[in-house]
Symmetry: C2
Subunit: 426 residues, 2 copies
C-alpha cells in the first residue's frame, strides 16, 4: 500500500505512482476527458479521467491513486493520470455557494450561517492561516525575549475593568463574570515572571452592532516589568509586530488579498496633544479639548504617517488621563497626560497599551481620585502590597489585525465563528 | 548609563561593572558584612554590602549596580561587590510565608489565597515554566506536521457534549453556555484545514470538590482528517507528547521536583477487554462487564505497563460504546467496542481520544439509537452533510499533565489561579 502525498507535492513525483486524498473541488466534464480538481490542505491537484465516466460531485471526499505526469497547464505543472478514484464520504447536500470560483460569491450572512463549509473556500481559509501565522510569530518573538506564556481565569468574581459590557455567569449559584481582559492577572504575574504573555479569548457584552466589535475576540496580551516608561513597551510591541509579519511572510507569503506592511526599525510616534494641533491645523476641525481621537482623526493621522514617515504604523502617545483606566501611569512631567499609547495601523487603533501604576499608595490615590472604593479592588490591590516593579503592557486584537492586513471591512470576516448581539451559532 | 543584565549572566561579566534588577529574595546580616540575594526571572544573584548598613526587606524591588567578582561560594560562582542599591518599589506587607526557603512552607489554601505573591517562590514558579514549555512543544510538533492553530467560541448556544455540568451565561437576554470543549468546532474545521489544534480554556461546572477537577482548565485539543482509524490519532498524540517532553528538557531540564518520562517510539497499548481480563486474573477483583475503568484499575494498569513494557505511558483502546459520546466511531469488527482510547500516564487518565463518525447517516443513526433528537444537534450535523473525511482527535488537560510530571497530588497546584466550587478569587 502506498501512502498519501499532498497535492502540492505532485511535481516532485513525476513518473511515479502516488496516492492523494481530499475533496472534489471541481469537476470539468469535456467530451473525451474529465478533469477532477482535488483540494487538500496543501492546495489543488488535477486528476485526468477518461471521458464518459460518472464523476463524484463537489465536496465528495476521495482518495485518488494514479501516475504523476508533467503538464505545464495543470496547477503546479503536474497532474495525475490513469487514476482510480475511491469515494471516502459523500455530501448529503451541495454547499450554499460554489467553493471553486476564485472569488467568494456569497454574502457575509450566508458565509457566517454556513461557516463549516464556507470556510473551505481557499480564499476564506487563507485568512485563518494568516491568523495562525501571526500568533506563532508573536509567541516566537516573545519566547525569545524571556517571556513566559500564561493561562488565566476567564471567569472572574468582579467586573474590574468596567462595570458595563460584561457577561454574567451563574457560578454555582454565585454571580460571576466573563473576563473582559487578563489585565489583573498579567500585572500580578509580572511579579512572578517579569515578562508574560497570553493569547486567549476575551469577552465584551457589546450592545452595538458594529463592523469592528465582537462579543468574543482573541486578545494577544503582554506585560513586562523593569521598564523605564511606556517607550520600553512600545519598543517591545514593535518587535512583536515585526515577528508577526515575518512569520506570515515565511508561512503564507504575500497573496492577492494580502499586502504586508513594512515595520520600521522605530515606529513613528506623535504625542496626543501634538496630534490634536496637527488635526486642528489641517482638517478644518478643532479637536483640542477632546479627551480621545475620533475614528476620522485616526484615519487622517494614519495617512499623515504614511506621507510624512513612510510608515503604516503610528504611535499616538500620552492620551489624557481622564479617558484611561485607573491603573494608567501619568506622565510625570505633564500629569494630565498619561504614559500610554495607541498603535494606529491603516487608519484604525490596533493596540492599546502603556505604563501602569506600580506602587500600592499610587493605586489608593488613583481610586480615591476617581471616587471609587478600594474594597471592591482588594484582590487587585493586594498585588501591589508586595513590591512590584515599574511595568507596562499592551493588548492586540487578533481578528482586527488580520482584518486590517487583508483590507476587509468587517471583523466577522476574520473570525471563524463570530459571536455578536445577534449571532450565537454555529 | 549601563543597561541591566540578568542574574544568571553574572559569571560572564567577572571584573565588570554591571547593573541588575529584581526583588530582594533574602537578607543575611552578619557582623561585618551583609548579603543581599536578589531574584530576577533568570535566578538569584548575591550582592555583598558592608556590615551595619540598613538593607531593604524581602520583596523590595531594587536595582543594584556594582562590580562582579568571582566567588565559588556564591550562587553561579560570582557575586556583586561595591554595590549601590536603589529602591524601585517597597512592599507594604510581608509575604504570607518565607519565599526564600527552599521548600514551600505554606498550606495549599494559603498559597491559593495569596497566589500573586506565593507564585514568586522559585519552586512554585518553576511549575508554570514547565506548563509553558509543554504547550510550546505541543504547538511546535503539530505546526511541523501541517496543523493549523484555531480559536473557537467559548460561548455556545447549546450544551452539546452533555447537558449537565455546564455554566449558563446571560447572552444579551438569551440563554447561552460556556463551551465544555471545542469538540464541535474542531471536527468542523477538519473539513477546512484537515488538521487543527487549539490550546484554550474549557469550562465544567463540576459540582464535586476533587483533587483532579476544576471549573476551568486548559485543554490541548487536536483533530485530524484522513486517518485509517484511531491508531493514526494515537501515533500523532505520541509525537505531540514526545515534543512536549523534548521542549521541557530543552527549556527547563530535569529539576529536583521534576522527573521526565521517556516516551517510547511506540506507546504500548492494550484493548479494554484484555485489560479487564488482566485485572480479573491479577487483582482479585472482576471488573468484566463494567463499562469503564475504576481509578484503582488505571493505577494498576499503569504499574503493569512499567513492569511489562518499561513505559510510563499506556494506551487503553476500545472502550465500550455505551460510555463514549455519540460521535464515537465503533470498532467495525466488534461494534460494542469503540475506536477510542485513553492514554494513561503515571496511574491517571491523561488524554481521551478516538476516531469520530464522519458520515451524516451514521450520526443520524447514532442519535436515534440513543433516543436523542437530531434537531437539537442541527448545527453539528450540518457539518457532516458536506463531505467529511474519516477523522479523529484527542484532548489533553494541561494542568493534569504538569501535576503528573511533578508528582503533585492536587491539580490546583499546577493552576495559576484555580476556579472551583468554592474558589472564584483571586
Amino acid at each position: 500500500m502506498i501512502s498519501r502525498i499532498l497535492a502540492a507535492g505532485l511535481p516532485r513525483h513525476v513518473g511515479e505512482e502516488v496516492k492523494i486524498a481530499g475533496w472534489v473541488h471541481r469537476r470539468r466534464v469535456l467530451k473525451s476527458v474529465t478533469f477532477l480538481v482535488v483540494r487538500d490542505r496543501s492546495g489543488l491537484a488535477q486528476v485526468v479521467l477518461p471521458g464518459g465516466e460518472t464523476v463524484p460531485s463537489e465536496e465528495t471526499v476521495v482518495e485518488v491513486q494514479g501516475t504523476v505526469q508533467a503538464n505545464p497547464q495543470a496547477p503546479g505543472g503536474a497532474e495525475i493520470t490513469g487514476a482510480v478514484v475511491k469515494l471516502l464520504s459523500e455530501p448529503a447536500k451541495a454547499p450554499p455557494f460554489d467553493l471553486y470560483r476564485p472569488q467568494v460569491t456569497a454574502t457575509l450572512p450566508t458565509i457566517l450561517d454556513n461557516a463549516p463549509v464556507a470556510l473551505r473556500h481557499p480564499r476564506l481559509r487563507a485568512r485563518f492561516e494568516i491568523s495562525a501565522a501571526s500568533v506563532a510569530g508573536f509567541r516566537q518573538t516573545l519566547d525569545g525575549l524571556g517571556f513566559t506564556e500564561t493561562h488565566t481565569p476567564k471567569i472572574v468574581g468582579s467586573a474590574t475593568e468596567s462595570g458595563a459590557n460584561v457577561f454574567g455567569v451563574d457560578y454555582f449559584g454565585q454571580r460571576a463574570y466573563l473576563a473582559q481582559s487578563p489585565q489583573f492577572f498579567k500585572q500580578a504575574l509580572v511579579g512572578v515572571f517579569e515578562r508574560v504573555y497570553e493569547v486567549g479569548p476575551v469577552f465584551r457584552a457589546e450592545p452595538h452592532d458594529t463592523a469592528r466589535h465582537l462579543a468574543q475576540y482573541t486578545s494577544l496580551d503582554a506585560e513586562l516589568g523593569f521598564i523605564t516608561d511606556h517607550h520600553d513597551v512600545m519598543a517591545m510591541l514593535r518587535q512583536a509586530v515585526a515577528g508577526m509579519v515575518a512569520m506570515i511572510t515565511e508561512r503564507v507569503g504575500p497573496t492577492e488579498e494580502l499586502t504586508l506592511p513594512g515595520v520600521p526599525g522605530e515606529i513613528p510616534s506623535i504625542h496626543f496633544a501634538d496630534a490634536q494641533e496637527l488635526l486642528a491645523r489641517n482638517t478644518g476641525e478643532d479637536p483640542r479639548g477632546e479627551p480621545d481621537l475620533a475614528p476620522a482623526h485616526e484615519r487622517w493621522l494614519s495617512e499623515w504617517a504614511v506621507k510624512e514617515h513612510g510608515s503604516e504604523f503610528l504611535y499616538v502617545t500620552g492620551y489624557p488621563m481622564a479617558k484611561r483606566p485607573f491603573y494608567t501611569h501619568p506622565d510625570p512631567a505633564r500629569p494630565a497626560y498619561s504614559n500610554s499609547f495607541d498603535l494606529l495601523f491603516r487608519g484604525l487603533e490596533l493596540v492599546t497599551g502603556g505604563q501602569r501604576l506600580h506602587r500600592h499608595a499610587d493605586y489608593l490615590a488613583a481610586l480615591a481620585g476617581r471616587g471609587e472604593s478600594a474594597e471592591s479592588y482588594s484582590d487587585y490591590l493586594s498585588v501591589f502590597t508586595h513590591g512590584m516593579p515599574p511595568h507596562g503592557g499592551f493588548a492586540l486584537g487578533l481578528e482586527r489585525w488580520t482584518a486590517r492586513l487583508l483590507g476587509v471591512g468587517n471583523i466577522r470576516e476574520t473570525t471563524l465563528f463570530p459571536r455578536d448581539l445577534h449571532r450565537l451559532n454555529p
